[in-house]
Symmetry: D2
Subunit: 340 residues, 4 copies
């Protein structure tokens, strides 16, 4: 009954097998290896384009901050939801990597930035007014921090508005697979076709050991050299890159990552149904992926914890339960049993 | 004949096996896992002390920069050799992590800072003179960038001088194992017993996939909380820390890391002897570890390259050959053959 | 009818005379001059203490950012009102000077942080939780950005709460004189006696050419050396400091600064009364100092502008009118005339 | 006998008079005032071009660091002489303003970077090699830190080399007037006509109270908006800009600044002759401006100090004597007398 986070799950065995498979002979360091080269082909096929560059890190915080720092100057700001991971959970990483840039927080229900809220914020931007710190980037998160999924249409609309005001669009896809399964969208539809310029394509929570791919699409590729320099400078150019690439290769091979995301989403739906069967339980939002946010009647959190369940209280008074590829059916049955 | 770098070698199979071994069940994220807890015991035994804290990253650049940034304020400087990795090869990582601190470069033959040079630099420090950027940290590298090894006595002397002037002492031990094998010193003797306050204990070049341990000794432990905050903020707190800890565990288990460092050092000695057998070849410095710096007679570099050997020209006009745990005897014989 | 800002006013003639008076002979550079030495005595008398250190800059943004950067580490945050000058009008200066620290914005009516809001924010601080960016400093503004004045009791209460949670208390006193005149408090009562550790004591808006004094009280004096280093490093240690000190000396001499603040406050009250005499005009807040925020009936802003009045629309839909020491009675009469 | 620095001199009376002259009525803040507008015309005439933008600060350190930070990204470096003020005397300001960029120090006799040294440094730049921190800017100083003057031909040659490698050329002209008088060059000839893209045009040491103009020429004007944003963010946009502009206006009016620089240079020549008349005194370099660097026979420094002379020992073992516009003939005679 471990629903604390999808980061507490192990890696899928295929990932480990891939590490062992590439662990032979010499390879050029710092991304010049043959595994990374092969991965490029896989990504091209997956995203249905050759018009991209990419870099890998082992950390979502790093990938987000590197991506943002290439597009938000130190004298600029990033628009994001006020519950965004980059705002709440990354200890100021965007500010650090950008050299003191700002985050401008936008409110929005269900973890989503509303179109009107965005439009109002964009309307206030005045690059010529020197006192203000104007936004240069819009950062969206899909799956959102509230467990909901933006549709392709929503991302497309927000991105178009941002582009209209001259901003670059970043998508934090730490749970990209979960969002795709939830919406039925393809990777291309949910990224560059929807107007995403730079994507943090997360595989760690989905089932890798630690692998997050920064994807630069189209015009954003101009920053490819700068991205590598910033990666080096921040310690995110580990010499033996083949082991990052091997993880990604294993996850993408045969669509494993989407299978695993699908398993996690299905487990979450089942867990949600199980919780809802208990009187007094209310879902905060309809689960869009692998997370369930539920308001529990008095005493239930304690009962579940006493029975060995792990999950976190959330700032809004609800509790968060996260399922992963490794969540077992009997963990969910055990919740039902514990609730009596 | 791949002597390009010890980072082009694969990981030792035990490291991969350890990853697979810990790849089961849920574990707390961000260093709260059982593997990291076990590793603490191993490190205590290895370094003969309980008076330490540690953090792991996958990158030597990151470990050095994190370590330095805890002790060098943005208004301060780090003393280091003018060929130090932190000065030449890390794209300004120390400056970035410290918020704009400076490196003050000291000359020195054979990759070593001379005692007199250090003393002269220390004598110039005036913390009250606001125009100057005074040094707060001395950073040594062992194995040095020239392939030589500082003795325990040398480190002790330099560290004592630095402490006398109020500085903290950092040791970049990207090739710590090679230096220990070369000098016969124990980990404790070459670190905290010699006056090292913070150590970058590298295992990647020795044979891990990617694992560098930052060790804080004694009074330096005050910075433990700050170190973790800086690690988080810079993306060096990957959620699934167990896989970093497992690498270290496998490397330390049974002294594997020192065996592997010993193999690399032995290969370098053999390669040096092989090269020296050729008329006109001169070693720049007597190899102290797993690196050979040789001046080659005209045409020899081209001959070796044509035969398939990989190695790098060095700024001083020599060529650098690096051996690793995976260097094969027949790679060295092939050099002999190629030289004719 | 120029009510655009108190920064558009000229300097008081005494300030210019003081510049001329010190403009003779050689003086030590960088704060070692005799004028700066004399000023220390004046400040001691004014603030009724010898337990302080100070530095001067020509800019309020610089003084705030320098003050904050000495107490908010790059991994920390500053609590402030969401309309604070440091948040809205300084182009990210606090983030820049602190090396990427964050501002945590607190809502509050009338430009003031409510005691409960502060208490709630303080209760969430967990220095051991590495993902969060915890606050290290509380920054208050008095006169507030809404033109109201915190009472000594309010500052004392907020400061006590902040100290109880381990924070340092900063007061942005760009309009400190206006707040003192409005509340009848003495400089000591509104600063260190109320728990303010570091004060930006502004004289520019009051009538100087450009002079803002950073005052460190009590334990905050530990940062005196760091403050000077940061001032040097950011270009806020102009060589000929005597001319900054001379401005302050002239302003403090005989209480000129409080006289000038009183004139500005009185003008604002008169202007407020004049505006209120017009049907449909409503004050947003009761003026606490030299600023008037008024909601104007449709067409009135245009009428006043057409008549030559200068003032700014405010984000909340009201208009801001600022009086200065140099505001003339006939400027206010002209407003009455223009309104018909 | 105060030869400590030209920054210990007072301002020229015309400067003070100009301050008083503009001290009337309201003026737009932050550079929108009429005095700043007039100054633009003066600068256009002086530099024989309209193809420029400018900003003013009260500090040479600030002007240099702001200028450099617009052209050197945080992942880049600035080439400068190893005795440059930006390297030695600014407490890491360039590193701070650039967000952690590096200075790459070049040796050179007489305070000048040699053409060959520069060419060698430029040849090593490889923007595609991610480990290196490549130079983006060449920063020259004229008058140099050794008191010598680069000729127009020398600046032109160095700038052409830098441009050839894609670098931007900055000139630190803290003593620009002294260099012009020494070489007979016009402002245009020594700046944009020689290939200088961005100039710190210093007037403080020449006789202002505190005024240093950043001049962007030609293509460098693209950075005008960024320069203002960086100025605001670093506290170098004081609200009452008219007082900076008035200083510059007074200094430029009728060529006062060049007259004053000429006086200082003449005094230095006279002082040099006076010192040379003493047996055992040797000049380190032939004075190019208002500074004299002399090696003194044993005991002479003490004798002069005892007689009341002020001057500084220099790191190379010599002593530095600086003359200013305010240096009096009898101060120099007093030196002769003191030497006996």
């Amino acid at each position: 009954m471990n629903f604390s986070s999808d980061t507490s799950a192990p890696a899928h065995p295929n990932v480990l097998a891939a590490l062992a498979r590439v662990n032979t002979g010499n390879e050029a360091s710092y991304g010049g290896d043959s595994v990374t080269a092969r991965l490029r082909g896989q990504l091209a096929e997956l995203f249905e384009t050759e018009d991209f560059d990419f870099w890998m890190t082992a950390s979502g915080t790093a990938s987000n901050a590197l991506a943002l720092s290439c597009f938000c100057p130190s004298i600029g700001a990033v628009l994001c939801h006020d519950a965004a991971h980059i705002a709440i959970d990354e200890r100021g990483a965007p500010e650090f990597f950008s050299g003191g840039g700002k985050l401008q927080l936008l409110a929005g229900t269900g973890g989503k930035i509303g179109a009107d809220t965005l439009a109002a914020a964009l309307a206030q931007i005045d690059y010529g007014f020197v006192h203000q710190t104007p936004a240069h980037v819009l950062s969206l998160t899909n799956l959102t921090e509230s467990g909901t999924a933006y549709s392709v249409a929503e991302v497309t609309d927000l991105a178009a508005k941002a582009h209209g005001a001259g901003l670059v669009v970043h998508l934090d896809g730490a749970r990209f697979g979960n969002a795709l399964v939830a919406t039925g969208a393809s990777p291309a539809e949910m990224s560059w076709k929807a107007g995403v310029d730079v994507l943090t394509f997360g595989l760690t929570k989905t089932g890798a050991m630690g692998c997050e791919i920064i994807m630069l699409f189209g015009k954003a590729r101009e920053k490819w050299g700068e991205l590598k320099a910033r990666a080096k400078r921040s310690g995110h150019m580990p010499p033996k890159m083949r082991y990052l690439a091997a993880q990604a290769e294993a996850m993408l091979d045969g669509g494993l990552w989407l299978d695993l995301a699908g398993r996690a989403n299905k487990a979450a739906l089942k867990l949600a149904a199980t919780l809802m069967a208990q009187p007094g339980v209310h879902l905060v939002t309809k689960p869009g992926g692998n997370e369930v946010f539920a308001r529990l009647p008095e005493g239930l959190a304690e009962t579940l914890t006493a029975a060995g369940a792990k999950f976190y209280p959330w700032p809004d008074g609800s509790h968060r339960f996260v399922c992963s590829w490794a969540t077992q059916d009997d963990e969910i049955s055990a919740v039902a049993t514990a609730m009596g």
